[in-house]
Symmetry: C2
Subunit: 329 residues, 2 copies
Amino acid sequence: MTITIYDVAREAKVSMATVSRVVNGNPNVKSATRDRVNEVIQRLNYRPNAVARGLASKKTTTVGVIIPDISNIYYSELARGLEDVAKMYKYQTIISNSDNDPVKEHEIFNNLLSKQVDGIIFLGGTLSGETLKLIESAPVPVVVSGTNDVNETLPAVNIDYYKASSEITERLVKQGLRRFAFVGGGYSAKALKDVQAGMKAVLKANDLTLSDHAIYIGDEQYRDGEKAFSHLKEQKPEAILCISDEQAIGIVHAAQDAGLQVPEDLQIISFNNTRLVQMVRPKLSSVMQPLYDIGAVGMRLLTKYMNDENIEEKNVVLPYKIDYRGTTR
Amino acid sequence: MTITIYDVAREAKVSMATVSRVVNGNPNVKSATRDRVNEVIQRLNYRPNAVARGLASKKTTTVGVIIPDISNIYYSELARGLEDVAKMYKYQTIISNSDNDPVKEHEIFNNLLSKQVDGIIFLGGTLSGETLKLIESAPVPVVVSGTNDVNETLPAVNIDYYKASSEITERLVKQGLRRFAFVGGGYSAKALKDVQAGMKAVLKANDLTLSDHAIYIGDEQYRDGEKAFSHLKEQKPEAILCISDEQAIGIVHAAQDAGLQVPEDLQIISFNNTRLVQMVRPKLSSVMQPLYDIGAVGMRLLTKYMNDENIEEKNVVLPYKIDYRGTTR
DNA sequence: GTGAAAGCGCTAACAC
DNA sequence: GTGTTAGCGCTTTCAC
């Protein structure tokens, strides 16, 4: 029925070992033999069985991707970068949504390992202690993109949230602003922590503070931005730093609906830099993270681990820019 | 090193067949034996090798997903629906971006089949003749979501674009509009064809026409919407029907920048209904496609094929609603 | 440069 | 209810 390496061998009058060599590009084959085998492969329309190969060679050329939510435009952009690089290196990607839920992450992890993936890439999200243990004890390399554990011990790729946040806060303080707020979500503990730390450091240096009342943590959705605004409005913030673009856009609209002028009365800047920032008016000011690259570089790093290449730097920090568009002065 | 079914069998003093039965939930095992085996599995932290299982059973519980571009918010929404259902039925998904390029599609197809996926789901996009052949000759079931071939012979899930388009056009004509335009993109031949057909039928019935000058086909991106507007503006359309939300938003902004009032001078309505429609002001009028469901139902259909369940209807048409928001009167 | 043969870890008859 | 055995389709020594 399905045609196997054995059929090809018989037709080409060689052993299966030779067919295997041809298929795998092993140079130790006389070119006449090679041609003959290739002709038969062509004629029989032979397609190597990757499952059998995986069992025999203990390599599946498959990598697992654990992603909070592929329908989130921020993560889907990472996923695209990562898949392109995977393809470049001949890997397929099994993608699974975790909703950043440690229980689901655990399940996915087990499924992936059971499928004998050659490596795993863990995207964004918060690293629970349990998940961290899973990663550390995994029999295959794991790279995290867009987050890291608190001790930054994992192979990871990120931008410097702390620095970006400091820069922004610095600028706003220089404009004379005094009341700041922060809005984040459950997805990205690292961004959450670093952005707040950056703000607080600069504010403190200027005898200002970020009170707990000026911090809102939600779910990073558009609707949640509206909630964030109504939660924060009594504080009368003059500027809000917000992790998620969707949330930020929700805040802009909620503020406008409440009669505020953006950016005159309230400045807003976000950190995710998805394509959304260009699609709203006023255009959203944001930290330009190289999303595609964060995914791509993460996968490249993973390929290095999988092929035992030399790793110069396991904690990659990618450059960012800050684009002050319409929602800041 | 890695622990196998054989190790478990030895430790539990049973045969590997019995371990296999326990692992696969076969009821023909005495519960005392089952408990003993499970205890050993637990203790040894045994994890079945899905690759070996796949080779032996000829089932991989893996499905392939061919998607034009996962970073496109429209497709990523489909992908999420599909993956959730796949997970529900214990399948993993290998996701690959095709950019709707027949050459890449061919490659992906071969990779997927080589990996012995149990089924393939083909998302959106245009079905080239070559790809159609690939699908028809595939050794595993294939379903398409969000598109179909011209003859509608494939297992597919869609909405009725023709009907939606007719309804919209009807309404606009009743308002007294006379100059219509259409904007589409290369991704979705079916939507492209059906929406135009729906428009044309209604226009014709009202002694109106959709001239070729009033049709713009681009790449469905935000920037492309701006191009579309400058291409169409000489026709002074009073209403534009547009497949993609991003494109439609680009048109809205371009029109506003050109001094037009939306919807007073120009009405715009789109068909993709991604979350974007809510995130712009004025809110974009659109056909509310059940994106998540199109993906989910597609995967459900595929599971039916893979498990030889009875198929009542292989060409599923899902309901839609039309939401007239801020960009129409 | 090529072939023979032994697995990879599991499932699926089949026998008992 | 449980064990034995023969593969699944390939890679990988090891000979020659």
